[in-house]
Amino acid sequence: MGRIGRLRPDQVGADVKTLFEAFLEERGNIPNMFRTVAHRPEILTTMLAHFRAVMGPGTVPVSLKEMLAVRVSRLNDCDY
């Protein structure tokens, strides 16, 4: 079990609820990390915007960025 509670869609404000619904629509779940960060809505909304800016199309191939993400997660022993 996670050390911090995960918020459900009925426990969050309107802005975060919209984000949660978009996740459900797109992938059928709301990542536990984002349900946890939702305790601080400003951090969640800017985190998602930053994640998209960093990982979306940019100046290097998305495939290279995915490989870097896998490598770093392995080094950190993070299964999440």
């Binding site: 992938r27 536990n32 960093v54 290097v60 495939s63 290279l64 770093v72 997660s73 993070c78 999440y80």
Partner: protein, 235 residues
């Protein structure tokens, strides 16, 4: 996830040890930067940075370093807070499996899609679908480590036993189960669900976990619902 973005299986295996895998020089430089930034206090030696510069512009280096930094942030945040891997709701997975039953042509294609849907959604250590052929159950698709035995005789191991009895079996601890046929040292618990149709068993779904007692009522019901969907295609 990485596979969806065009990263090959070979590259994913190579990521276990980028220094000794024949990645193209630009990818290797970026991966060695990731190692340097992630190890210890994240110091990057000058010769490595010179190599990175040979392959990438300044905006590209900023983007690469941002990816590496972001995943160190996320990984350390998740490790510290003991974040559980996110599982997909069983109803969503049953809908996806039902869609696959409608659209997949060959049985092999259908089984491939279904193991993919379940493995992605529930992060099973191992899952396989077996189809009955006379007195044997033959594997049609799997996800997880390759397994030495491709088929079981009826009555052999838990897959063969479910094929014979037509009854679901949940094994919380495989080390105490007399019927369990060990394939992976890492397996701790197992869920074996027969696919029943027309008064006979037409196949078996076998799921294994590297955690003890991993299969609760929710997991069992999910796999049984998927098994019920597959009957018409395996008969």
């Amino acid at each position: 996830m990485a596979k969806q973005f065009g990263v090959s299986d070979e590259a994913i295996i190579g990521l276990r040890d980028p220094a000794s895998h024949p990645f193209p020089p630009d990818q290797k430089a970026a991966l060695l930067l990731a190692d340097a930034m992630t190890d210890g206090r994240g110091q990057v030696p000058d010769p490595l940075f010179v190599e990175v510069r040979r392959h990438f512009s300044e905006p590209q280096i900023v983007e690469i370093a941002a990816v590496i930094g972001l995943f160190n942030y996320f990984n350390r945040f998740n490790n510290a807070l003991h974040m559980d891997v996110t599982l997909t709701d069983p109803d969503v997975l049953v809908r996806r499996a039902a869609e696959a039953v409608k659209t997949a042509g060959a049985v092999e294609t259908l089984c491939e899609r279904v193991v993919e849907i379940l493995q992605q959604g529930r992060r099973y250590f191992w899952i396989g679908i077996y189809q009955r052929q006379e007195d044997r159950l033959v594997r049609r698709a799997h996800r997880g480590p390759a397994r030495p035995s491709h088929a079981f005789r009826l009555g052999e191991g838990n897959v063969g036993s479910a094929g014979q009895s037509g009854v679901t079996k949940v094994i919380d601890d495989v080390s105490t189960d007399p019927t369990y046929k060990m394939c992976f040292a890492a397996t701790r618990s197992e869920l074996v669900v027969p696919i029943r149709g027309g008064g006979a068993v037409v196949g078996v779904i076998d799921v294994e976990s590297d955690r003890p007692a991993a299969f609760d009522e929710e997991e069992r019901t999910l796999v049984e619902r998927v098994a019920a969907l597959l009957v018409s295609r395996l008969i």
